[in-house]
């Protein structure tokens, strides 16, 4: 059974059609990349999958792990195993990083019928994951994303992903705003999470991220539809030729 199956998905933002019939199937353990020019609907697709308000699905279906995803609230999707790494992680003044992680992890555990995590075990878990992402204790103590640089925010997203161990990771422009060193840390963090049961949907404008996170499949999204699907070599082709063919084709 596919982990994610999107059929003929249509969605509007402010009454304007953005997604115009997306078909996509992701099997467990696969890494798919979606590339496309600005305004093609990449971020809209990620928000529709995560369940953000203001995105109206006007047609089609999304099945995640056998469940009708579109019937679920954002928090239900998250505890079911979907994780969206935000393009612009949100600052939460006054909400401590550790509190936030613990609330999120316990929500996931509760949904799985598990007890809340023991305080010491939690601290140990977070510290171990944070270390590989070069996130200091001092950063963990701060309010979520407040005063973080762009790179720190992205690393913090990957830390949350590592702690929550989702089934499907949706990475929305995770490479934007990263310098080469930060890109490597983030990519290594993502690659460390690659596993047989875990799928990824990597949304990016540029090919460079895909040098680090090598996809099984690459899709080109333009004007709200997937125009072409290929292997990782498709990304290299796009890097050379740009999106002009797809933009004009619409």
């Amino acid at each position: 059974m596919a982990l994610l199956e999107i059929k003929d998905l249509h969605a509007d933002v402010d009454g304007k059609p953005i997604l115009k019939g997306i078909d996509l199937v992701i099997e467990p353990g696969e890494v798919h990349a979606i590339m496309g020019p600005n305004g093609s609907g990449k971020s809209t697709l990620s928000y529709v999958l995560a369940g953000r308000g203001g995105y109206e699905v006007t047609g089609g279906s999304v099945t995640f792990d056998g469940k009708d995803l579109l019937e679920m609230e954002a928090d239900e999707r998250a505890v079911a195993g979907i994780f969206l790494a935000f393009q612009y992680p949100v600052e939460l003044p006054g909400v401590g990083g550790m509190t936030f992680l613990k609330e999120a992890l316990n929500a996931r555990r509760k949904a799985a019928g598990e007890d809340e995590i023991d305080a010491m075990a939690f601290l140990k878990l977070v510290r171990a994951k944070a270390k590989t992402l070069e996130i200091t204790d001092e950063m963990l103590k701060r309010a979520v994303n407040v005063g973080f640089s762009g790179g720190e925010k992205k690393r913090n997203e990957i830390l949350q992903m590592a702690v929550l161990e989702p089934m499907l990771c949706v990475l929305d422009e995770t490479d934007s705003g990263l310098d080469i060193d930060a890109l490597k840390i983030v990519s290594d963090g993502v690659n460390a999470l690659r596993a047989a049961g875990r799928s990824m949907l990597v949304i990016t404008h540029y090919q460079r991220l895909l040098n680090h996170i090598v996809p099984d499949k690459v899709h080109v999204l333009a004007h709200g539809r997937i125009r072409r699907t290929g292997g990782k070599e498709l990304a290299l082709e796009l890097e050379q030729k740009g999106y002009a063919d797809f933009v004009e084709a619409a």
Binding site: A50, L92, P93, G94, E103, A143
Partner: protein, 429 residues
Amino acid sequence: MSTDVTTLPLVTDPLDDGGPDWLVAQRRSAIARYRQIGLPGARTEAWKFTGLNALKALQPVAAEGPAPTVLPAALAELDRTEIRVANGRAESLPSSLPGGVEIVSLDDPATVPGWVRESLGSVSSIDSHPFAALNAAQFTGGVAIRIARGVMPEAPILLSMATSGGDGATAIAHPRVLVVVEEGASADLVTVHQGTGAYMANPVTEIIVGAGARLSHSVLQAEAAEAFHVAMTSVRLADKATYDGFVLATGARLARHEVRAELAGRHIDYRINGVYLGAGDQHHDLTTFIDHAQPHGASHEMVKGVLTGRSRGVFQGKILVRPNAQKTDGFQMNRALLLSRDAEVDSKPELEIYADDVKCSHGATVGELDDDQLFYLMARGIPKARARALLVEAYVLEAIALIARIPVREAFTVVAADWLSRHVAGAEE
């Protein structure tokens, strides 16, 4: 001395029982003033957002006898020197006091020492404040606290002011408090207003902070749900004095909490921060006046409100910078978070500046919870109600963090978190 109050406005003669000459004179002028100005009406500018019709309809009786003091658990754990004022009279004074701390009952004004006579009534203005005048005319007791020159008591002084509602009729209490912090002294005062049943509490607090002295004053207004709370705190500061005030208001059906400060010396550090939390049909009014009368004064005011249900919040903050008050540094910010469509807030900042070399900023924001923040929390699996609670808690705690004294800050944090757990998690959008 007990006073029978049968109606509002004042109809009884509080001079029946006599009293020392100095007090009789004060009472006479307060009565005259009160009769002249009367209770504020809809056209009274200072009260235009806080209607008093429900209060004017009262047929009050004097609050009498004991009133149970029930401190929130977090405050009951505080290491403290505790004073209890009940139904407007000093119910219990601590049997032992730290050196240099003096606490005097005002229940029998004939016996009070000279320093009380000299200061009582010298800070609180009755000119345009009918309830302060009413208190001056009718107060039946309370306490005076003096921290002697240079003394710095370790534990906070906790002043509990309790009122108990009568059977049928609404009880009314007019407690009086005087705090004198002498030159170079430093103390922490926590005032808790609470009670049971239906009543009106009309406390007046006068505070004198001497040169180089410091008072941190954290107030918890947790009156009973059926109570009216009309409080006036007046502060006068001398050179290089510090007043670090905080008001957390959660109680009463109608509350008007007013804090006035006269920055009468140079290089004064004055802070008045606060949080009001409203639910149901509550009405919270926090009104402040800061009078920068001398140069080099700094004032800091951050007030945040959270309103659910049909509750209403009022913030009125006036800063006056007199011609002589050059190099004044004033900051004022008022924020309100509306968690329901029926909640309402009125914010009236007022800057009146007559000096030309000052730095004054003010701002006001009214809003709902941020959708992006809410979605971010939910996208991590946190249910909506919990996500809302986390965001509101963060919003409130940012203000409570301004309480410098850590045990007091922690106790107030628990009180606020408790309110939030009861009123925010299940609040309608």
